[in-house]
Symmetry: C2
Subunit: 469 residues, 2 copies
């Protein structure tokens, strides 16, 4: 069931490339007969599962516990937090019938689970002994998006959401920082993906949040992709949901890890003209073995397989296909390490190992094959540590904006109607460039006398600008 076609799309045509590679490498199938819903084939399902597991590992280590909430949320729950219901109402899928009967109380597929979790938190939290409460749930959420795109925007979206409650504001704000570490460990260390963390402007917050801190990565076409976001909710939900510890309303945070979007970032950022490059932590096949000729029946070849059995291995031995075709196929699928074993090499006790990330090849002794492959995985992860900063360029006026990329500019502010209007004007004039926010956790000072690049009035902050997915 693996990809069997040639792949000939250049990554320089990014959008066409992206929309070809995800099917060519058999991650998903878009022929399911329900608009905006996708079927995930084994390689795609595996990436989702492993990214989820890696994030969960980080959450478990930092004292979070997993819970499972119903997929349905009754209408009345949404209505408790006004901004929240206004934000999500147009996107809800409603279940209105059971068999052939109308349901007296329709319920929605969860678009996010604040209003499911927090009614229970009001029952579970009684005193400071119950705090901090740090729960998470991994799964799917449902939003009636008009336009959908695999791994980027879908009616069925894979993610993890955490919901934490604390006694003090200080602890809640500390959680926002911890969230960054958990996310960073997976994205940077295991997956080699860099991102910037922004404090979103007031007008671009999560519906119902006091503050939204978001993780933006940069795709090759110069648009940014939000891969996760942490929200400081303050007491905005604890008051309507009546969540009190010792008679004080709790302070809350929630965090959405966009598992689906992490897959998109892995595909888009690592891939090249030949296909995917999948980090070994999340690749369903870690090692491709490509025998030259029919040596897969020999004893030596069996030893090779046996040596590598602690990895996830697949042998590419389809006799109907050429050696070259099979090499291409392993590259299209993005398998991080390939072992090529020719008849003559086998006799000489050698094999060739290929690194999909660097393209380097190396002859190694069969005796130490296992160690060499393990080392190559380590090297690949070590290279992920040399993450380059996302490229940012400074602008002084709207005419300095380039077609893609992240721009830095002095701006009038991140709240209030004047700033919001300036951001809207920018978006209209530029066909979609948005104010992503100010850098989170870094104080950037505005030089004496600097002017807002949009309004010409005195600037109050340094913001970053980009088009988004």
């Amino acid at each position: 069931m693996l990809a069997t076609k040639e792949f000939n799309v250049k990554k320089s045509d990014f959008w066409e490339w992206y929309n070809s590679i995800i099917y060519a490498a058999d991650l998903v199938d878009n022929r399911y007969n329900l608009q905006g819903f996708l079927v995930h084939k084994p390689a795609g399902a595996f990436m989702i599962k492993r990214i989820t597991e890696l994030l969960e590992e980080g959450l478990n280590k930092t004292g979070h516990e997993e819970v499972l909430f119903p997929i349905g949320i009754p209408k009345e729950n949404f209505e408790l937090e006004k901004e929240h219901v206004e934000g999500f109402a147009p996107e809800l899928f409603w279940i209105t019938k059971m068999g052939d009967k109308d349901l007296p109380r329709p319920f929605a597929l969860r678009p996010t689970s604040e209003t499911a979790f927090y009614q229970m938190y009001s029952l579970w939290i009684r005193s400071h002994n119950d705090l901090p409460l740090k729960y998470y749930q991994a799964g799917t959420v449902y939003r009636a998006e008009k336009e959908t795109s695999p791994f980027l925007r879908g009616r069925e979206f894979y993610w993890i959401e955490t919901h934490c409650a604390f006694q003090t504001k200080k602890e809640a704000l500390k959680q926002v920082k911890e969230d960054q570490k958990v996310f960073g460990k997976v994205l940077k260390t295991y997956l080699g993906l860099n991102y910037m963390v922004f404090d979103r402007p007031e007008w671009d917050k999560f519906a119902g949040a006091e503050k939204t801190i978001a993780f933006d990565t940069l795709l090759p076409d110069g648009k940014v992709l939000q891969v996760g976001s942490t929200h400081y909710l303050g007491q905005k939900f604890s008051k309507p949901f009546n969540i009190k510890a010792d008679n004080e309303f709790v302070y809350q945070t929630c965090f959405g890890h966009g598992v689906w979007r992490v897959v998109a970032a892995v595909v888009a950022i690592h891939g090249d003209d030949k296909g995917l490059k999948v980090p070994s932590q999340i690749s369903k096949i870690q090692v491709a073995i490509v025998p030259v000729g029919k040596n897969d029946k020999t004893q030596v070849f069996k030893d090779v397989k046996k040596q590598l059995k602690s990895f996830r291995v697949q042998i590419f031995d389809d006799i109907d296909k050429s050696f070259g075709f099979k090499l291409n196929q392993t590259e299209l699928l993005g398998i991080p390490v390939r072992v090529e074993v020719g008849d003559r090499e086998l006799e000489a006790g050698q094999a060739t190992i290929f690194d999909r990330f660097t393209g380097n090849k190396k002859q190694v002794s069969l005796v130490s094959l296992k160690k060499e492959v393990a080392n190559l995985f380590k090297e690949q992860e070590a290279n992920f540590k040399n993450l380059k900063d996302l490229p940012v360029y400074q602008i002084d006026s709207i005419s300095d904006l380039k077609e893609g990329g992240i721009a830095r500019a002095y701006f009038i502010g991140t709240k209030g109607t004047e700033a919001e209007q300036a951001a809207k004007d920018l978006q209209e004039k530029t066909n979609g460039v948005k104010v992503r926010g100010t850098l989170f956790g870094v104080k950037e000072t505005v030089p004496e006398g600097a002017k807002c690049f949009m309004t010409g009035k005195p600037a109050k902050c340094v913001v970053y600008l980009a088009k988004q997915y």
Copy 2:
């Protein structure tokens, strides 16, 4: 957030006990405001997750691959297989609205996924090279049950479903046997649960199947619980869904592993008057450490914790609670191993370990604590191997039936209207005793001249009878 109340219900009042223990041990909360939907707290969510993982391990080892299908199934898919749609139509939840707009094509929450998978199989399967195809999906299914009961019957039900396609009938029937091994490994070896495997009568098959083989375990009140079922579908779906390999319709099987019901069986079968007994493989807390007094600050105590860090450990050191209360609490939660460390014991380099399954206590040296705990887990699993057969008693007439338990009887048959009518009569006269089927994989011969216990006519088979959950 752990249970803090006393638990005083006797298991002899099984139904009351079951419906108390699942809340007292904090597995689920039933106060979510959507009928038939439950919230799973960390201990319950963990059991679901680990049972799922153990089953997946078995599936992966036998060549199955995980896929992820949409939660929604369009109406037209159901209508392709007539028996299937008739079986499931009354149980479907329908999504009919998106925001405030009516959907032109409503879709249902999946009650099971045959009709989602098989339309894709007709695209994926082209030739014998694509076979066997063995995919599975772990998650939830949705059925509008009228009466629901935690882990037994719910509108949101956790399970795994496998969908396999083969070139020949023989291979498909072989798969049915492999399914038993995968299921048996988890249920018997890891969880210590026995069950019987029945070939269900014609009238009690899965909607659309040629043959249904089901796994029934026995709960303490004498009713059986179906924890899983394998279906041989033959070509009943491949024909309407047009799934052909080299122009021949494929043969199919599917298998539902009732993860939720396995939790129910663990709770119901292992538990006792004091609370749960959770096998170490699926227990969120594997080792409870209960310090006597405040010794948790001493160096020796820190060493104890460090020694046990490869297990999932929780320390019960709430100073507001008595030592006795804490011991009871660990037993209520079903933590398989408890380590008690008193001040004097610590000084003498000793601790006491307690086996929740046997109730045995043992003093061990602190130096070898890790090994002793590991051994105790091994012993517990070794004891699971001494599984007793489910008790079965022979009956000759309906008046021999006892209140609970599994009866064995000679019967007129497992298909045809006469047999079905006899089964219906039995059910009516006995307030619910059902013909579970004939033993699967074992040929039981009917003695010369034996009569059907219901009709008095010549018996054709040996069947088993029980009330069911």
